[in-house]
């Protein structure tokens, strides 16, 4: 099975103290460190496990600038066979639909049975997977946390309310957005990255993909970010003070008075 996994380079939110820049239209990026979007790691791990079991190969693709090559290498160190960097000045400022359009063009240049994305990105809107499927006219399953390979079909599971599991059958080719927890992604150390440091990663721009530069990028974006702000600290937080016993007593009293417990 030929699998394409779409990945994204995102600021590592857990590691960074996010601040808004002085213009108020973006976050301060100078001191940020970047990594692979967490969900994408699960998607790549799942793809590698499927290929190890059933044969085929995994390709990772990203839309971004040259620095995004770093995340492709990291995923290749995990075991993805090849990488594809989609980069062009014309791509800058694309909205979700723009990104989906670029990815669609890349999908059509290859011969993939299965397209996987992370369910969402740390700084994203969880929209690319669905849009990509619609543009390709492929079936789509979101928030997948279990995959079983069948003949020309997949069984995919997802968690629904109350921790229950729902299993669907989906025909290939298709697009799946992967939820965290589907597996335990393997660790990638410096040694792994060095091993793939010299592997050639093809770069494709708008013309290589046969894309009209006007159909993507900032000009074509119909969703635009107009503000960024840190919410003001609301009122209503109350710090309970005293010894542990006193705090527990006060908390029980509060919960009782508000009807939380009887």
């Amino acid at each position: 099975m030929e699998i394409l996994v779409c990945v994204k380079r995102v600021p590592d939110t857990a590691e960074n103290e996010i601040e808004i820049n002085s213009e108020g239209n973006d976050i301060e990026r100078d001191d940020l460190v970047y990594s692979v979007n967490e969900w994408d790691n699960y998607a790549v791990e799942e793809a590698i496990q499927m290929v190890n079991k059933h044969g085929g190969s995994v390709t990772v693709v990203t839309v971004g600038d040259e620095e995004s090559e770093e995340v492709l290498r990291r995923e290749m160190a995990m075991g993805a066979e090849s990488g594809l960097l989609l980069t062009d000045d014309a791509f800058e400022g694309s909205d979700g639909k723009g990104i989906a359009a670029i990815l669609k063009a890349a999908v059509e240049k290859g011969n993939y049975d299965l397209i996987m994305t992370g369910a969402q990105a740390d700084e994203g809107y969880a929209q690319v997977g669905g849009m990509l499927a619609a543009m390709l006219d492929y079936p789509y399953a979101s928030l997948v946390n279990m995959i079983e390979v069948g003949d020309g079909k997949l069984k995919v599971g997802r968690e629904i309310e109350g921790g229950n599991m729902e299993v669907n059958e989906i025909e290939l080719p298709c697009v799946l957005s992967i939820q965290t927890g589907i597996n335990e992604p393997r660790y990638v150390g410096i040694r792994g990255i060095r091993k793939v440091a010299s592997v050639d990663i093809p770069t494709l721009g708008a013309s290589d993909l046969g894309l009209d530069a006007g159909s993507v990028g900032e000009g074509a974006a119909k969703v635009k970010r107009i503000d960024y702000f840190v919410p003001e600290m609301g009122e209503g937080a109350e710090m309970l003070e005293g010894s542990t016993e006193e705090i527990i007593d006060k908390l029980i009293e509060l919960l009782k008075s508000k009807g939380g417990i009887k």
Partner: protein
């Protein structure tokens, strides 16, 4: 010397001269033994190289101390004394046993030198030795069968108990002692009956006892006892010899080699591959131990040498709190695997491509805190830390790392600290001191200081531990030292990164820190973190770096030269009972036991007690660095266990000299519900409270 009985060399049975047996038994047995040993050597030959042939003087010293003088045995008094008796008995009797084998062929044989006064001394000594060994064997038997010390027990998950093996060997030894004595006792009794001058038999020995018992026996009885006991001795002697390489008594043969080749340094981790430079590591196909043959030959010699005495596991904190690790079974499972795949008879069986999940489990290998208690205790010089680190290297290379450790490792790679906090905030703890004095941050090129305070990650960023950093700075300032910190140029020391098997990341951290320290121009390094102290001293171990000191050494020196003066405790302090908890990386790995105690004793009115487990038997608090992030399966926290030990010693205050011990014990106090009754304080914090300014 006259003989009243026919010797085995001259005896005939049904017309067959028994000398035939005297010749055949040793030939067959020695051939079989040589064959078994050759087979046993096969895995050692296939294993990876190890560098253990250097510094013979130190190695011989270790053999004299740990092997010959049985240095570590009395740490377990009863078992130790029994072992020492059997050990020396064996050494003494080895000459006699060899002599007996030859006597069966040539009856008058005596080793050169033994037909002089030396012989008189020796034969007396060996009579007592045989008797003492016999008594020791009976005592060992009673212990095994009657008292059953808990450390010999086999937990269900590790399979069948091996008591039968111990008892069988005790039986062998007992028979050897009895038959040797009976052989001689019968001969002497016959001499007495025949009115000849009897050979000397030392009073109150087994042989002497047999002589008395046989005083009135028939001559034929004495003759047949003489012959039978000889051949029983001969057969058991050689059976025992060939049985040794089959099980845990292999140590009788391997121990001298294992001790000779044991590690000379402590605190360090061996290279990924001997003979491969750091620069060439990238070219290696694979890292660490994955296949069984990825162990070094010394590792396999360790497996062979394990005597299953259980001392390592008895001292292992992971085992004590119910983690799935018992060092004893690291050795025994390795040995059984070697025996199974390299059998004595039949072809070798191909070993697994990856032993992880086959012999050992991931959780077992991640459970180790590398505290070193097992290695400190092992009377045979068996090592564990290097093997565990090498197996971790193998897992890291396969991407098989617990999820809980992946995030901190990636953060260490990106930001040089396991929390992923910003580099520029590394020296932020020093701002709280701004009103007292300024801590020099040696970030800009050209800024320098005499002494570099290496803070390390967790002390820099963890709110509780920052107070240790502040106390350390106050001490250095108070002693009038020109010191600075590296600020954002400092990265994690990498002590745990290396011990968790992420060698390449460790190399990067090491190179970064080495360069930063060299650029700072400092003439010495001081740190309050034993883990940083250890890795800089023993793993970086670079000629480019200035010497490194732990703050407890600095304190001891500066208290004795008067630069730091401590006031006595106040009335409230005098009511408290203090105990010092030895951090593993200060104590066991670096032998620093006395400096921190001397500092405590320099505080007037401080009442200090020792815990039963102290100094080199200290009990790990559960480890530092990356260990703080690992989520083990366990019944109880090590910190809790340690707090209880301090309480048993009657202490109300635990003093430690490691920021990780501080947090782990602090948590331990909370979990044990002893807040208000017990407290923990870092040595630096305590000193700053008492420092006269």
């Amino acid at each position: 010397m006259e003989h009243a009985l026919i010797s085995p060399a001259a005896y005939t049975i049904f017309g067959i001269p028994t000398v035939i047996f005297s010749v055949l038994i040793p030939i067959v047995a020695v051939a079989l033994f040589a064959y078994i040993i050759a087979k046993r050597l096969a895995p050692l030959v296939k294993a990876r190289p190890d560098e253990r042939f250097d510094r013979p003087d130190k190695r011989i010293f270790d053999v004299l101390k740990i092997w010959l003088a049985q240095w570590r045995h009395p740490r377990y008094m009863t078992a130790g004394v029994i072992h020492i008796v059997i050990f020396f008995g064996f050494l003494i009797l080895s000459i006699r046993s060899s002599e007996m084998v030859i006597k069966g062929i040539s009856e008058g044989f005596v080793f050169p030198g033994l037909n002089s006064w030396l012989g008189d001394v020796y034969y007396t000594l060996k009579d007592y030795a045989a008797t003492a060994v016999f008594i020791a064997v009976v005592a060992a038997f009673v212990r095994r069968v009657w008292f059953k010390p808990a450390r010999y027990a086999y937990p269900e998950s590790y399979g069948e108990d091996h008591t039968w093996e111990a008892l069988l060997v005790l039986g062998f030894i007992a028979i050897l002692m009895v038959s040797e004595s009976l052989y001689e006792g019968a001969a002497v009794a016959a001499q007495l009956q025949a009115g000849m001058t009897p050979d000397f038999l030392a009073p109150l020995t087994l042989g002497w006892l047999f002589k008395l018992m046989l005083a009135d026996a028939a001559r034929a009885t004495m003759q047949s006892l003489h012959i039978w006991s000889y051949y029983i001795h001969d057969i058991i002697f050689f059976t025992f010899l060939c049985f040794l390489p089959i099980g845990k008594h292999f140590h009788v043969l391997t121990s001298i080699f294992n001790v000779y080749f044991m590690r000379l340094e402590r605190g360090n981790i061996r290279p990924v591959r001997y003979g491969v430079d750091e620069e060439a590591l990238d070219d290696l196909e694979s890292f660490g131990v994955k296949r069984f043959e990825d162990f070094t030959w010394k590792d396999i010699l360790d497996f062979y040498t394990c005597a299953d005495c259980g001392r390592c596991s008895d001292n292992c904190p992971a085992n004590t709190v119910g983690r799935p690790l018992s060092p004893r079974f690291i050795s025994l499972k390795g040995r059984d695997y070697a025996f199974e795949h390299y059998p004595i008879f039949g072809p070798f069986i191909k070993t697994d491509d990856n032993i992880m999940g086959k012999i050992y489990s991931e959780d077992e290998i991640w459970s180790c805190t590398t505290c070193g208690a097992c290695e400190q205790e092992c009377p045979l010089g068996i090592e564990y830390i290097n093997k565990i680190v090498d197996m971790r290297r193998g897992m890291v290379d396969d991407g098989n790392v617990p999820q809980s450790l992946q995030k901190p490792l990636q953060s260490l790679e990106k930001r040089g600290n396991p929390y992923g906090k910003m580099e520029k905030k590394r020296a932020e703890w020093s701002k709280a001191l701004a009103e007292e004095f300024e801590v020099k941050v040696l970030e800009k090129k050209g800024t320098t200081a005499d002494t570099l305070y290496f803070v390390d990650s967790v002390t820099s960023y963890d709110e509780r531990m920052q107070s240790v950093a502040q106390a350390t700075a106050r001490i250095l300032h108070g002693a009038g030292i020109d010191f600075g910190v590296l600020g954002k140029n400092e990265k994690d020391s990498g002590n745990e990164v290396r011990r968790f098997g992420e060698e390449m990341l460790y190399q990067e951290l090491k190179n970064n820190n080495t360069e930063a320290i060299v650029n700072s121009g400092a003439k010495r390094i001081v740190t309050a973190d034993p883990h940083a102290f250890n890795v800089i001293k023993n793993d970086y171990n670079s000629p480019d770096l200035p010497p490194v000191e732990h703050i407890s050494q600095f304190l001891q020196n500066n208290i004795s030269n008067g630069k730091i003066q401590l006031s006595g405790l106040d009335e409230e302090g005098r009511q408290k009972v203090f105990t010092y908890h030895d951090p593993c990386y200060l104590g066991r790995h670096n032998d620093l036991y006395d400096a921190p105690r001397a500092v405590l004793d320099a505080i007037g009115g401080l009442n200090r007690v020792e815990m039963t487990r102290s100094r080199d038997r200290s009990f790990c608090c559960s480890g530092g660095g990356l260990m703080l992030f690992y989520e083990p399966e366990e019944d109880e926290r090590m910190g809790v266990r340690r707090v209880k030990m301090a309480r048993e010693a009657g202490a109300t205050v635990i003093v430690t000299a490691c920021p990780f011990c501080l947090t782990n014990i602090e948590d331990g106090i909370k979990v044990a519900g002893l807040e208000g009754q017990m407290e923990v304080i870092d040595l630096c914090e305590l000193v700053t409270q008492q420092m006269r300014r």
